[in-house]
């Protein structure tokens, strides 16, 4: 598991690059890589802007069925989110954005978990699974049938 700081705009760019590499290594398709990196960008910005900075953790994971995936966790010790349901509503924003950050990030990933306590901070964990099982990952001269 890799841990990266989220303290500046440069850090957000670094998190995106790191997630891109992890997603490619995890066998995610180009579209799924792009979705995960975009979600990471939204969540890293939230950590920076609303959480006052924090850390991002990037981890390669495996499902019981053998699918590979990438898990991301963004944690801050900021003011927290008083009403999580409201924060996850399309178009709702506490700042000057469009209010698509959290709700949009949730749509772009397969698993999404948000925990937050007012005054203690916020943690968002997301997972994107590869649509191929590990035996279908590209290999030299692999011609296995049935693997997209």
């Amino acid at each position: 598991m890799d841990e990266l700081p989220v303290r500046s705009g440069d850090d957000v760019v670094r998190v995106r690059q790191h997630v891109r590499n992890a997603a490619a290594a995890g066998g995610l398709s180009l579209v799924d890589q792009t979705k995960l990196v975009t979600a990471a960008s939204e969540l890293a910005r939230n950590t920076l802007v609303y959480g006052g900075g924090g850390v991002a953790r990037v981890e390669a994971v495996k499902s019981p069925a053998g699918r590979s995936g990438v898990k991301l966790e963004f944690t801050d010790e900021g003011p927290g989110i008083p009403d999580i349901d409201l924060a996850l509503t399309d178009g709702w924003t506490s700042g000057s954005g469009l209010g698509l950050g959290l709700s949009g990030a949730r749509r772009l990933v397969d698993e999404f978990e948000l925990t937050s306590k007012p005054g203690e901070g916020t943690s968002v964990t997301v997972v994107k699974w590869s649509r191929l099982t590990s035996r279908c990952l590209p290999r030299p001269r692999a011609t296995s049938a049935g693997c997209g």
């Binding site: 957000v12 979705k35 975009t38 960008s41 399309d90 950050g101």
Partner: protein, 117 residues
């Protein structure tokens, strides 16, 4: 923070984003572009995002804002070269980039600005 260069080619300003965009770079581009529009009197802006790997809600909103600002200076903005994966992701994110025109590539973008289509 890296800045995105703005080239003037005839009556058109040409912006090709070749860096990993951070929020500050997008905000700087917005200001630089407004200044160049005033200074040059250009009537069109082409923003090439061929090299852009992701457009998140902030970058997407800023592209729309750039389109609106340009219109105030009598210039039309065309976003060109969006990658298929970026288009799919943007749509799922809930962004439509309404208010700016898009074209497949810079050549088609120029045709739009020149009124050929």
């Amino acid at each position: 923070m890296e800045r995105v260069p703005i080239l003037k080619i005839g009556p058109t300003l040409f912006v090709s984003i070749q860096i990993d965009l951070q929020d500050e770079s997008v905000l700087a581009l917005q200001e630089d572009l407004a200044e160049r529009l005033v200074a040059t009197g250009a009537h069109g802006v082409i923003i090439d995002i061929t090299a852009v790997e992701i457009v998140d809600s902030f970058i997407g909103r800023m592209l729309t804002v750039i389109g609106s600002i340009s219109r105030l200076f009598d210039a039309e903005t065309v976003i060109v070269g969006m990658r298929p994966a970026v288009a799919i992701t943007l749509t799922e994110l809930g962004l439509s980039l309404s208010g700016v025109r898009t074209a497949l590539n810079a050549e088609k973008g120029l045709e739009i600005l020149n009124g050929k289509s």
